[in-house]
Symmetry: C2
Subunit: 175 residues, 2 copies
């Protein structure tokens, strides 16, 4: 896509919103090292070569002990000059995950609290971040009317030249 | 989102699909240095600190001479081990743009052809890439039934701690 040689300019963080459709709850944590007691989705930085969905699943498990599987991509935030990013820009991607286990065993190094919270409560509370609040409202709408309106599902494709697989996330619509 | 210090692992490429809603055409190019004569959307790598939409508008202008404005984010591809990326992973984001001018004056260093092509033709032709083809079908559906079903619009928000603005792209749905 460019005549310039590539160079890495962005770190990629991925959060996982694990939604239990049976009871309308979502898995949230509070960071240990932040002053404000804000609920947020567990997540963290992608390792080199790691797929977006794999980062979400791994980080959710490391922080909360809950096993999950990738369902869709929901939201992308771009931020520059983030403290601690050493000049890199930051892409923060929120995925929807489905739970494979439910028992919480959270990492006390990273989190001070971890709970299955009602999505409706997360969508209303002031104790959260603007992005988490917006994603919660989106997920609530998904619970009520189906996730088809909010999901960017994954399609895996084979690259024309290298033959390697890549991941495409976009709206899936029947004609 | 992580206890680890940040480091850049990804390059971010952005393509712009400039759609002329008055006649159902979209602006496409053929790369000069690729063997296959594949139509694709103009685009290129983000400069450090540059917003996604700004990259799309800049690259479209540099390659085609057409001025445009950002409308929405449509599609995200993740690819690892891309030739020429020097070990960085690659995120390739496709945006929908609206035209502000129509005369083509394309960059002959980068492109061998540049045209306003019918979206219906781009959606059907074999002379394109898998991602371009999928985005073309998505845009065709948008032309027919409204872009509300396919768009991830931009919302600009202020960061809680730093006060800096950041950009959030996600589905916008009335309750």
């Amino acid at each position: 896509e460019s005549r310039l040689p590539g160079f890495a300019t962005h770190q990629v963080g991925v959060a996982g919103a694990v939604v239990d459709e049976s009871n309308g709850k979502v898995l949230v944590v509070q960071d240990r090292n932040k002053t404000k007691n804000a609920w947020k989705f567990p997540g963290g930085l992608s390792d080199p070569g790691e797929n977006i969905g794999a980062t979400a699943v791994r980080e959710v498990f490391e922080e909360t002990g809950v096993r999950s599987e990738f369902r869709s991509l929901l939201s992308i935030r771009q931020q520059h000059d983030l403290p601690g990013a050493f000049g890199a820009s930051d892409l923060y991607i929120v995925c929807r995950l489905g739970p494979l286990s439910y028992d919480i065993d959270f990492c006390t190094h990273e989190c001070s609290r971890c709970e299955w919270l009602q999505l409706a409560e997360l969508a209303e509370t002031a104790n959260t971040t603007p992005v988490t609040s917006r994603v919660a409202r989106l997920l609530l709408r998904g619970l009520e009317r189906g996730f088809g309106d909010i999901d960017l599902p994954l399609e895996e494709l084979r690259a024309v030249y290298s033959g390697a697989f890549y991941q495409l996330y976009q709206r899936q619509l029947e004609r």
